[in-house]
Symmetry: C2
Subunit: 664 residues, 2 copies
Amino acid sequence: MEALDYHAEERSKAEFDVEELKIVWAGSRHAYEVSDRIARLVASDPVFRKDNRTMLSRKDLFKDTLKKAAYAWKRIIELRLSEEEASRLRFFVDQPAFTDLHWGMFVPAIKGQGTEEQQQRWLPMAYKMQIIGCYAQTELGHGSNVQGLETTATFDPQTDEFVIHSPTLTSSKWWPGGLGKASTHAVVYARLITDGQDHGVHGFIVQLRSLDDHLPLPGITVGDIGMKFGSGAYNSMDNGVLRFDHVRIPRDQMLMRVSQVTREGKYMHSDVPRQLVYGTMVYVRQQIVLDASCALSRAVCIATRYSAVRRQFGSQNGGPETQVINYKTQQSRLFPLLASAYAFRFVGEWLKWLYTDVTQRLQANDFSTLSEAHACTAGLKSLTTTATADAIEECRKLCGGHGYLSSSGLPELFAVYVPACTYEGDNIVLLLQVARFLMKTVAQLGSEKKPVGTTAYMGRAEYLMQCHCGVQRAEDWLKPSVIVEAFEARAARMSVACAKSLSKFSNPEEGFAELSADLVEAAVAHCQLIVVSKFIEKLQQDISGKGVKRQLEILCNVYGLSILHKHLGDFISTGCITPKQGALANEQLRLLYSQVRPNAIALVDAFNYTDHYLSSVLGRYDGNVYAKLYEEAWKDPLNDTVVPDGYHEYIRPILKQQLRTARL
Amino acid sequence: MEALDYHAEERSKAEFDVEELKIVWAGSRHAYEVSDRIARLVASDPVFRKDNRTMLSRKDLFKDTLKKAAYAWKRIIELRLSEEEASRLRFFVDQPAFTDLHWGMFVPAIKGQGTEEQQQRWLPMAYKMQIIGCYAQTELGHGSNVQGLETTATFDPQTDEFVIHSPTLTSSKWWPGGLGKASTHAVVYARLITDGQDHGVHGFIVQLRSLDDHLPLPGITVGDIGMKFGSGAYNSMDNGVLRFDHVRIPRDQMLMRVSQVTREGKYMHSDVPRQLVYGTMVYVRQQIVLDASCALSRAVCIATRYSAVRRQFGSQNGGPETQVINYKTQQSRLFPLLASAYAFRFVGEWLKWLYTDVTQRLQANDFSTLSEAHACTAGLKSLTTTATADAIEECRKLCGGHGYLSSSGLPELFAVYVPACTYEGDNIVLLLQVARFLMKTVAQLGSEKKPVGTTAYMGRAEYLMQCHCGVQRAEDWLKPSVIVEAFEARAARMSVACAKSLSKFSNPEEGFAELSADLVEAAVAHCQLIVVSKFIEKLQQDISGKGVKRQLEILCNVYGLSILHKHLGDFISTGCITPKQGALANEQLRLLYSQVRPNAIALVDAFNYTDHYLSSVLGRYDGNVYAKLYEEAWKDPLNDTVVPDGYHEYIRPILKQQLRTARL
């Protein structure tokens, strides 16, 4: 049988080598090969099917998740997968599970905050999954403000134990993934109290459930916090609630790498620098940025392929209607998102480098770049997750009515993705941290402390405050240096303007609070500059493959100019560009869309997603959308019977005018 | 027992008479009283509880919906409710059901498109629900482009019948609500073919299911199209798929008010003007705008109340943390949405008047305002539904992590609301219609045809193209005339700029396609002007109640200035205001937020929503959020057992290292 490919003509139009771009997207030939192999492995295994996921009840969904997690672990052992391969496997299984927290938070917490001895004791068990752990930080009443946590860990010198306790309702642990039903252990964050003194929040390893029968240990109340956004989606995760009633743990279960409590109950610090914690944060957020590029590219892939299948209006003489991807309104919404997917990918890659750099410096006791790296990752986490959440929903809308069907894959993708805007730092709180750092940087201009890394441009603030954009014709906007300077000038001017406004307040904290909405805008401008710059830097590297670099240059321009168009008010009101130059940028953008158009399908093929991973009828590789939508519909449980359950009790009495006597 | 009210202090701070604002919001004392009474009736009836809805399987949810629909109808009959009361009851039951389509589309279609005779035959049955009808227009391959529908209705003069047929897969009817399982009849849109000639799309009444046993009639394949976005939400609706295999219906089941087919098969038009159809469109879209204000106000009510309960950071000396509603970042996101809720309410009310006006004119054969009214309603439908969908999600994010829980009510509200952006005209397609009308209006400037109604300002285009905003101090932005002129100038200049760009194309249609993204922006500017103007006009009326008018003036300014800030690029690049004036607007906006703050809770109390209707733990009237969140969690089916189903098969083998031999 010949393979069906409704997109064959689209694919033949591509002006570049899609196989080469696949490697650029993956990061390396090795990464590409591992991903490709593991993706196929998962896709071909019936245990991992997920097309019926949104129809499962909560209980069935959770059981299905337990099964997949166990089976995935079994396959990892059987196939002797490397750590990299195992992590790709979990990624492609694509169903949030307690194992995400075990590997992603519990193990790293012990590694990062445990002493050598603690690591030797706990990690082997964790690596073999003889214990399953989660990360119990947030409480019912406390999220962003970690220092406000209420759970207490009071040292009892009599027994050499800590007493873990939940003193109030709002101190109930709330949200930790894997806590509700699966975990046997948790790293619990609690206020350390010795001899009546509160030393702030520290981490403790606490066993929650018996390893014999999985029942909660005495003094522990634990359960699931209930349904979350969407069907399927994050409901596969047992986010949990946890209360302690004076639960005792041995003293050596406090994570003691940085601070210790001695046998006598004395609180001490080791010589390990506290800043190490920030290294972990950089790592986690770097991962979140890469995840954003995955979720975004997935949504864009679906919307792009479907936009080439869907036709509406424009039929001439009874011929086929126009593919909706040919409409400029569709292009102007879709192509900037396609460009963003690549932009986030490259900035995520760069963050990987940044993490390595910061780690090496920390090991050499060099903290000079730490606050800049911290601000930069906080900002990029915020920027990319907000943009991705919005983009998934925009892609759904770009698919018209059919995007609203679960079988489009987009509703579930949205529901499962949006918590990224809140976890690991609420996006607005993070931008305020960036803003605080920017204000500090501005305040130090002219001093000995020179701005470094992503704020180095601030060192040229004097120039940037008065420079003029030289664009005279639309094509002038294609020069990377022109775009970067406009973004630098905008970011610098917005920061300096905020700093000026702040200086009018006698109380700086009051000023910061009053101007916080403006400060957030300045932080966004700074972060967008980083993304644009890193995209441009990427293009200064060697990129092989016929036409590949050219396509990326086009996308880079689309990214920069679409952001510029969207935030035109910033650029013009700060005098960075003139209204006329803004109009030219918009004109250039339209021309760029025409250049993206013939390559659009190939540009999303380069993500190399299997139909299993995409899990979208609209995004199918072969474009056979309508027949499959029709086929999928009949699988809904409502179609089990032609006459619906409830007809006799509730429909017939209406039709037959027998409602008065009906028992309802 | 004393009633708990965590918001009591907030309520006592209000500077206006909340009872009076309730009446303004409802539209009249009568409307308020009906709404209030029916809302309580529904809230107090256990059959209508919906707090467990997101946990139901699709089948159970659908059965629950059938039950509620039957019970609601029973109560309507028992209590002899008026049409207004019955419609409020369905509104407060707040669960999409086949009855929405029966009353909202099937009955109006027969009323609007049926002859007197047809109405006399079909309406009495429909009114008594002896038949249940839906509205079968869209097809698998055809949504926005109604003229592209493929279903055929071929006249057979031999038998005096139409043969309804689905010639292709893409011609399958797809999406009609109530079609999948409940409806016995449908108004089906199909291409009328007589004697081999295609007369375009017409409506036909077709019986789908037997009135005896509810089985589909011969030649009819019908079912549900499957799960949609979210849990609960629109999954209570049986959106359907329908295929016809040469189904025959009598000739008199073609809806013949406007066009007829005679016994001989001759196709004719009556003297009823075709434009009547537009009257119905104005009606439906007016309803959608009012629905937008309901959904938006509901989300805002939840987010506002929770923002006053939630505290984070800012604790001093161990005192309570700061209410998040006190943060300017929270206010700058939340208060514009609060203002939008009121703005959409008032523009919706005005549309009601417009509908009456248009209807009266149509009856007098006056079509002069029709195209303006059509453009205006199309634009407002698009503007308000897009803004509302975005706002619900923003409100969810404003509730932090807990907004992600189903028990917050926001995920389901979002999922159930978003289709409004697509149905009854895709929002981008509608804006292009508005743009087309605007371009026509610009082209006719200077001619005899003067712009009317919401485009009357275009008549002053010459002035608006060169006027200068006079704002010198922040408080100058409080003058309604200043705001309106800035919005008028922006809208006029954007339209004229588009018209100029268009004139450079030799083929106007090509130009329109090429510039469509800019045209959409011009259309948005025009629609925002309408909303601002109608809010201001509302405030020129008598509004009684202590402090009520003052609060609405503040909200009106918040609406205008927040839109101005968001679209600053438009205003500055067209030279309507200077960057300095833009900064002053922003400064004024901050001051306005401080004025809204003490009244925020009372301003959302004025929507008069019951806790039942809100269906949100975070939005509870009494603010008792944490205890109830905790309580709700335990109701999740996953908490039925302490040790989860699946432990023995999938968790224990992991912990005990017995996976290799486990059967998975």
